[in-house]
Amino acid sequence: MNINIFDLLLAPTLIFLAWQMLRARDLLVSIVLFIIFGVLVSLAWVQLQAPDIALVEAVIGSALTGALFLGCLGHMESHRKKIVIEKIKISKGSKVYDCFLSVLVISMGSILSWSVLTLPKNVLGLTDKIQSALAKSGVENPVTAVILNFRGYDTLLEMGVLFLVVVSVYALHAIEPVSIKIQPRQASRVLIAFLHILTPLMILVAFYLLLVGGHAPGGAFQAGAMLAGVGILMLVGGVAFSFNVERWVLRFIYVIGFGSFLLIGLGVMGGERNFLEYPEYLSKKLIFLIEFLATISISFILVTLFAGCSGFLNYGKSNSGTVRGVSA
C-alpha cells in the first residue's frame, strides 16, 4: 500500500468537514458542507479504485441528496409561519450525561477502528468467482454483472425500495398530488442560457452512462440520477416544457422500472430455469432493457422526491391532471 500526499490531505479534510457539518448552527452551512463532503468522499472512492461507487456517490450521495436538502430547507423557510411546530421539549443534557455519551462514542469508535485495522488483508472475497463467471453474465463490467445478474435479486428489491419511497411521498400528502408543477417564473437570463447549454449535455451524458454500463463504470442508477438532475434544474429554473400527463401515466412511469424487472424475472422462470435466471443468449438484451426502464423510473422518482420536498407538487382540482409549463 503506497500512501501519497493526496491521501494524507484527503483523510483529515473529510474528518474536519464532517465535524464542521455537525457543529454548524446554520442548516444552510451544514448542507453546503455536506455537498462538499460528498464530493470529497467520491474522490476517496476514486483513490480506492472503485469508480462505480465514486460515480454514484458524486451523483446521488452529494448532488441529489444536497438538492433534496436545499429544496426542503427553502420550502421550510417559505412556510415558516404556516408550519405549526408543537412544543417539543429539547432537553439540554446535563454535563454528566454529555461526558458519558462522549466516552461511549469514543470507546466505540476506537474499538471499531481498531477492528478495521486488524481485518485480514488477503481475503479475496468473491473476485475470482466473479471473474470466472463473467463470460456467462452477458456484460463485461464486473460491477454491472454483480448488480444485475449475480445479485440481481438484491437490485430488484432495491428498485422496490425506490418505488416504496414514492408511494410514501404520496401517502404523506393530505391530497393526492396530480402531477409535478412547473411554475413559470422570472428566471434570470444567465440561468436560462446556462440551462440551454447544460440540459442537452446532461441528457447525453445520462444516456452515455447507461450505454457504457455494460463494460465500464456506469449504469441505471447513475444515468437515472443524471436525468433527475435535468428535471430538477428545470423545476428550479422555471424553464419549461409541456408536461401533460394523466395521473395513471405518472403512476405507470414510477412502476415501470420495478415492475418490468419483476416480470422479466418471473417470465424467464419455468421448468429447470430459476427466478431471474436469464437465458444466456438473451441476458445482454434483458439486462439492457431492465436498465433502460429502471433509468426512466429512477429519474422520475427522484424528481418527484425533489418536487415533494420543495413544494413543486400540484394538487390542482382538475381531473385530467394536466399541467402546462410555459416556455421561457
Binding site: 405549526v84 408543537e86 417539543i88 474499538i111 471499531l112 481498531w114 477492528s115 486488524t118 481485518l119 485480514p120 481475503v123 479475496l124 472475497g125 468473491l126 468467482k129 466473479i130 463467471a133 445478474n149 449475480f150 445479485r151 440481481g152 435479486y153 438484491d154 428489491l157 432495491e158 422496490g160 425500495v161 418505488f163 416504496l164 419511497v165 408511494v167 410514501s168 404520496y170 401517502a171 404523506l172 393530505a174 391530497i175 393526492e176 395513471w248 403512476r251 405507470f252 414510477y254 412502476v255 420495478f258 415492475g259 419483476l262 424475472g265 418471473l266 422462470m269 419455468g270 430455469r273 430459476n274 427466478f275 431471474l276 435466471e277 436469464y278
Partner: protein, 506 residues
C-alpha cells in the same frame, strides 16, 4: 446443507405480494382493496402448500438467478422459516379482511372524515403488501446482505404506514421510528461489512462453516445484534415503539406489533443459533436475558398506568418482547432444556403475533364505534359489542398465558426450560409478568362489563371487522389446542435438539 431444489412456489410467495402491491397502487382504492383481499387468501394457500412440501420432503434451497451461493443469492426453506411464513400469512389475511372493513366509508361520519379514511385506504394496500413481501424475503433469505435489503423494505413501508394518519402525533412518532430503525439498519450493515471483509462470503450456511471466534467476529456480531435489537424494540431502546404503534391506524398497529416485531426477532434467533453458534459467548445471552427481564416487568407496569387502550397494548408489546428474549439465556443449558427454550421462545413469538393482532383489531373496532379509546369510558361495551369484547378476552387469555392458549404453551415451555437449566429466577419472572399481564387485561374487561351510561352514541361496527378480529383471537387459542403441528414443523432442520413434545403437552 441440503441440495434438494425447492419448487418455484417459494419464489411466488415472495413475489406475489410485491406484484399485487404494485397493482394496488396502479388501480386505486376500490379495485386495490379487492386485489389485496384476494392476494391475501392466495398467499395463505401458497404458504400452506409450501409448509406441506417442507413437511414431506424436508428443507431445501433455491438458487435465484441459477448462480447459487457464494456468487448468487439462495432462498433457504426449513421448518422455522416455513412456520414464520405461514403465520405471517394467517395473521396477514385476518388483518387484510379487517382493513377491508376499516377503510370503507363509514355511515354516520362526516364526508371529510370519510375522505381521510379513503385516502388512507388507497395507500394502505401497496404499503402493506410491500411490508408483507419484505417479511417473506426476510424469512426465506439465506444471505446477510439480502437480509439487509429485506429489512429496508420492511422498515420503509412500516414507517410510511405509521405516518399514514397524517396527524402531528403520527408524524412525530413516525419520524422517531424512522431515525431509530434507520440507525438499526446501518449498524446491522456495518456488521455485514465486517463479516464480508473478514471471511469473503455472505451466505448464512457458508458463513457458519468459516466463521472463527475473534475480535472481528465479536464486533460484527455485536453490531448486527445491536441493530436488530433496536428494530425489535428491546429495553432500553423500546421507547419508539409505544407511540408509533399506538398512533397508527388499527390495522397498521396489528401489522407492526404482530408481524414486524416478529420479523427482526426471527432474524436474531436465526443468526445466533445457526450461523454464529460457534462464536457466541454465553454471557451475551445472559445480557439479553437481563434486558428481557427488565422489559417484561417495566413494560407491564407501564401498561398498567396507561389510560388509552392502544397505548396499553403497545406497552404490553414491549413486555411480551421481553419474554421472547428469554430464549437467549435459556438456550445455554443442557440439551433437554435447550429444546424447550427454542420451541418456547419461537412459539411465544407466534402466539403473540396472533393475540396482539387480535387485540389491536378489537381496539380499532372500539375506536371505530366510540371515536376514542379511553379505558375508563368503556362501560357497557360488553353489552353493545359482545363479539369484540369476547375476541379481546380470548386474545387477553393468550397474552396472560392462561391455558389453553398459544401464550400458555410458549410460557410453559420457557418455564420448563428455566427449571431444567437451573435458572429458576427466570421462572419467577415469567410468573410475575403473567400476573401483571392479567392485571392490565382484567382492568379493561372489568369496565366493559359494567352497566352502560345511558344516551351514549356509537357507530355500528361492520361485521367484517368483528369477525376477522374474532377469527384472529380463535387462532391464538387454537395454537394452544393444536400445539403439536407447529412444533413438528419447527423440528424440521432445527439447530437445537428437540425432544418429542407429545408427552409434555398432555
Amino acid at each position: 446443507m441440503t441440495q434438494i431444489i425447492a419448487s418455484h412456489a417459494s419464489v411466488w410467495t415472495i413475489m406475489l405480494p410485491f406484484l399485487s402491491g404494485v397493482l394496488c397502487f396502479m388501480a386505486g382504492r376500490r379495485i386495490g382493496t379487492l386485489i389485496g383481499v384476494v392476494t391475501a387468501f392466495i398467499l395463505t394457500i401458497l404458504t400452506l402448500n409450501l409448509g406441506v412440501s417442507v413437511f414431506q420432503s424436508g428443507p431445501s434451497r433455491y438458487a435465484i438467478g441459477g448462480w447459487s451461493s457464494p456468487l448468487g443469492i439462495d432462498i433457504h426453506l426449513d421448518g422455522l422459516s416455513v412456520l414464520m411464513l405461514g403465520f405471517t400469512a394467517i395473521v396477514g389475511t385476518c388483518i387484510s379482511m379487517y382493513a377491508f372493513g376499516y377503510f370503507k366509508d363509514r355511515k354516520g361520519l362526516k364526508k371529510e372524515k370519510n375522505k381521510h379514511y379513503a385516502k388512507m385506504g388507497t395507500y394502505f394496500w401497496p404499503l402493506w403488501f410491500f411490508a408483507w413481501g419484505g417479511l417473506n424475503v426476510l424469512f426465506l433469505s439465506s444471505d446477510i446482505f439480502n437480509i439487509y435489503v429485506a429489512l429496508e423494505i420492511v422498515s420503509f413501508s412500516a414507517i410510511a404506514l405509521v405516518a399514514l394518519k397524517g396527524s402531528v402525533d403520527a408524524l412525530l412518532s413516525a419520524t422517531r421510528y424512522f431515525f431509530l430503525t434507520l440507525l438499526g439498519s446501518l449498524v446491522y450493515l456495518f456488521g455485514v461489512g465486517f463479516l464480508y471483509s473478514a471471511y469473503g462470503v455472505l451466505d448464512l450456511g457458508l458463513l457458519e462453516t468459516v466463521i472463527r471466534p475473534g475480535m472481528i467476529s465479536t464486533v460484527a456480531i455485536t453490531l448486527m445484534t445491536l441493530g436488530l435489537i433496536i428494530k425489535t424494540a428491546l429495553f432500553p431502546i423500546h421507547f419508539w415503539l409505544p407511540p408509533a404503534h399506538a398512533n397508527a391506524p388499527a390495522p397498521v398497529s396489528a401489522i407492526l406489533s404482530g408481524l414486524v416485531v416478529m420479523g427482526s426477532f426471527y432474524l436474531l434467533v436465526r443468526l445466533w443459533f445457526e450461523t454464529f453458534t460457534g462464536v457466541i459467548m454465553p454471557v451475551a445471552g445472559q445480557l439479553l436475558g437481563v434486558l428481557g427481564a427488565i422489559a417484561i416487568l417495566g413494560g407491564a407496569l407501564q401498561a398498567l398506568r396507561q389510560s388509552r387502550l392502544k397505548m396499553m397494548l403497545a406497552y404490553s408489546t414491549v413486555a411480551q418482547i421481553g419474554y421472547m428474549f428469554l430464549l437467549f439465556p435459556l438456550l445455554a443449558g443442557n440439551s433437554i432444556g435447550q429444546g424447550f427454550a427454542w420451541g418456547g421462545g419461537i412459539y411465544f413469538s407466534i402466539s403473540h403475533a396472533c393475540a396482539k393482532a387480535a387485540a389491536f383489531m378489537v381496539a380499532g373496532s372500539i375506536m371505530y364505534a366510540l371515536g376514542h379509546d379511553r379505558i375508563k369510558d368503556f362501560r357497557g361495551l360488553a353489552q353493545r359489542f359482545p363479539i369484540g369484547v369476547f375476541a379481546f378476552a380470548l386474545a387477553g387469555m393468550s397474552l396472560m398465558g392462561l391455558p389453553p392458549s398459544g401464550g400458555f404453551i410458549g410460557k410453559w415451555m420457557l418455564l420448563k426450560a428455566a427449571m431444567l437449566t437451573g435458572q429458576w429466577w427466570y421462572a419467577l419472572l415469567i410468573v410475575a409478568g403473567s400476573i401483571l399481564a392479567a392485571c392490565y387485561i382484567f382492568r379493561v374487561l372489568e369496565i366493559t362489563l359494567k352497566a352502560a351510561n345511558p344516551g351514549e352514541k356509537a357507530l355500528h361496527i361492520p361485521l367484517r371487522m368483528q369477525l376477522s378480529s374474532l377469527a384472529m383471537s380463535f387462532f391464538a387459542i387454537l395454537l394452544g389446542l393444536a400445539a403439536t403441528i407447529p412444533l413438528e414443523i419447527l423440528k424440521i432442520d432445527s439447530p437445537v435438539f428437540f425432544q418429542s413434545m407429545e408427552g409434555f403437552i398432555k
